[in-house]
């Protein structure tokens, strides 16, 4: 099956104080129709930059896509003219952000913001768009949608704002929804509501979701496939169920083991020693070697490649749990 979105050798860098730093290095992945792909990693791993690169929203300067292609409907998004890109953005590929308060415009009503993309992309009349906005707000579970449509973002609670954001993103029934840490700013009970909503909408609309998150719990709840990133690189790509059962990359294993468990008791938590290398560090061998408990001298000299078949790839010379 042809993927709906194909990222090839994406490299994105930023101009910093001390020269250019590469936030995403040579990243490739595919997103299929109806699939939820989670991009996980800790802060600074390049997952958000990946999302922004796809939508061509990297602030330039200081940022720039140095290399690579992003294929969507036989077009390379990195080479699209600004006008054409605007037609894709919000219409075919939509995005929801972490902080619903700052991503909604405080001076317009929620309804107006949902209607905007309908009017721009679908040439709807105002009246039709208003009706559509009400039904969208209903579908994302906002109570009293007829009233909420005329409210301003600050009059809504955090969870309701995130629902309104989702309604905005879904207005044009996009093919791909990019969700950048959609529940990180929310409380657990509200997070559960939003996760549930995303799952239901995904089933209903059969769209593809690119989920950017650091929370393994959220990944387990939503994702079909998982791409683990570390220090700008993809280190493991697996089916979600397999990844949680038997991680191949030592970093993935460490990440899973450091989560305090609700079901088991440990006296001491497993942790990955040290911290992520500075983003501008040029490392000859494996970028994780310094923190890896399985690392051999070989790892520090030879850079591993992301290898494997279509369903399972890992960037490690001594991958774990591989028969």
């Amino acid at each position: 099956m042809k993927p709906i979105l194909k990222v090839e050798n994406l490299t994105t860098s930023f101009q910093g104080e001390e020269g250019r730093v590469t936030a995403v290095r040579n990243l490739s992945f595919e997103l299929h129709k109806g699939e939820t792909l989670a991009v996980v990693g800790e802060s600074g791993c390049g997952k958000s930059v990946t999302a922004l690169s796809i939508l061509n929203l990297i602030p330039n300067p200081p940022g720039k896509i140095d290399n690579g292609c992003i294929w969507f409907e036989d077009r390379d998004l990195t080479r699209l003219r600004k006008r054409d890109m605007r037609k894709v953005r919000g219409n075919q590929i939509a995005m929801i952000f972490q902080e619903p308060m700052t991503s909604l415009n405080p001076v317009f009503t929620v309804g107006r913001q949902v209607m905007d993309s309908l009017i721009i992309h679908q040439n709807m009349t105002k009246k039709k768009a208003h009706a559509a906005a009400v039904s969208l707000l209903t579908s994302v579970g906002i109570p009293e949608p007829e009233l909420t449509v005329d409210r301003y973002p600050h009059q809504l609670s955090g969870g309701m704002r995130q629902r309104a954001m989702i309604a905005m993103a879904l207005a044009c029934r996009p093919d791909i929804l990019i969700a950048d840490e959609p529940t990180t700013a929310l409380d657990v009970t509200i997070q559960a509501q939003i996760l549930n909503l995303l799952r239901n909408l995904h089933d209903e609309m059969n769209m593809s979701i690119l989920l950017i998150t650091h929370d393994m719990g959220v990944v387990a709840q939503l994702a079909d496939h998982v791409l683990v990133m570390y220090a700008g690189e993809a280190v493991e790509y697996r089916k979600s169920k397999e990844l949680f059962k038997s991680p191949h990359h030592p970093y993935t294993e460490g990440l899973l083991k450091s989560i305090p468990s609700l079901t088991e008791d440990h006296l001491v938590l497993y942790n990955i020693p040290g911290s992520v290398p500075p983003i501008h560090a040029e490392i000859e061998g494996c970028r994780f070697a310094d923190r890896c408990s399985y690392a051999q001298p070989y790892c520090r000299e030879h850079k591993p490649e992301l290898e494997g078949d279509r369903e399972s790839k890992v960037r490690c010379h001594f991958a774990l749990n591989v028969t």
């Binding site: 509200i190 609700l262 911290s275």
Partner: protein
């Protein structure tokens, strides 16, 4: 066991001016809570944002003034207004670790100066002794002592939080209030800090008040846990007892809402609908009745008290369903 800190009917209300009203309204951030922390234990305070957990912590170190109630540290009331000397004395016993490892360190001071500051304020030791103390503190929290000359921005988030811990330890306190100390950190680093806190607890003889929204973290670290909702404690119990038998509907929902890192254990229902009501106008009766699927008529008028569950004095619940004296209706488990 000896009580180290006793909180009695603590209330913290902040005035807010509403546009429509002439008289200021009050945010009832903390609305009458009681708990006790014993020597050497880790007491967890969990709840969602706006439940009053951080305000409680700040009231204990006097960053906010309590509106009513008492806080006893080692038998002395510390909730009343204090003179500076008393305040300093309190500072030597009770310290605080902040949530944000970035804004909690003065960006213009070196790490050595930051950790040394409490020693200077309290006039402990001469310059050479202080330098040695700082070096020991930095080593104790897992940083190398020769980094005392570096500035905070040269450190990663996890290392900065270690510096915050070192500063809190400098005065050798007995109790440290930890306000979400790991919620701004990445998981792998979070585990490092949690382990560090456990190690230090033994070597420094510490008690912790651990404030967090993350139940898994609380479960890992705490001995006893209080669950807060809308300025009130709704359930207070030992760790085992709470996680095996969460009895307040809110505690139950909170546990069910955590997405487990296991694709085989999918959540299917929303554990809880709606949002927390405004703490300016809390609902009458039980604060949770607006979202509770078990709520009945009495919950809407009569506020439940925090009482022992099934006669177990170590497991307190504030819910009409859990107390048989409410008679007719019993909780129906799914």
């Amino acid at each position: 066991m000896n009580p180290l800190l006793e909180v009695k009917q603590l209330k913290v209300h902040f005035p807010v001016r509403l546009k429509s009203q002439f008289r200021p309204a009050y945010v009832r951030a903390v609305d009458g809570i009681d708990f006790t922390i014993y020597k050497g234990e880790t007491f967890g305070l969990v709840g969602e944002s706006g439940c009053g957990k951080t305000t409680t912590g700040k009231a204990i170190v006097k960053l906010v003034e309590p509106s009513a109630g008492r806080i006893f540290y080692d038998g002395k009331d510390i909730a009343r207004p204090m003179k500076r000397a008393e305040r300093k004395e309190l500072a030597r016993n009770v310290q605080f670790i902040f949530q944000d490892p970035f804004s909690s360190l003065d960006p213009r001071l070196t790490v050595g100066k930051i950790v040394e500051e409490p020693l200077i304020i309290h006039g402990l030791g001469d310059a050479e002794e202080r330098r040695k103390t700082v070096a020991k503190l930095l080593t104790d929290v897992g940083l190398s002592a020769d980094r005392a000359q570096s500035f905070p921005h040269e450190f990663s988030g996890g290392q900065r939080q270690r510096i915050g811990v070192a500063r809190a330890l400098a005065l050798n306190p007995s109790l440290i209030v930890c306000d979400e100390p790991v919620s701004a950190l990445d998981v792998s680093v979070q585990a490092q800090i949690l382990n560090l806190m456990k190690t230090l607890q033994d070597s420094y003889n510490l008690s912790y008040l651990f404030i967090s929204h993350n139940l898994a973290v609380v479960k890992h670290l705490c001995d006893r846990i209080a669950v807060m909702y809308l300025g009130k404690i709704v359930e207070l119990a030992g760790k085992q007892s709470l996680f095996e038998k969460p009895s307040h509907p809110y505690a139950e929902a909170l546990l069910a809402a955590i997405p487990l890192p296991d694709p085989e254990a999918l959540m299917h229902d929303e554990p809880l609908e709606g949002d927390m009501p405004s703490p300016i106008k809390p609902p009458p009766g039980c604060p949770f009745h607006t979202r509770c699927k078990y709520a009945f008529a009495r919950c809407r008028i009569d506020e439940p008290q925090l009482l022992p569950l099934d006669g177990d004095a170590d497991h307190l619940v504030a819910c009409h369903l859990c107390h048989p004296d409410t008679g007719t209706i019993h909780k129906i488990k799914k």
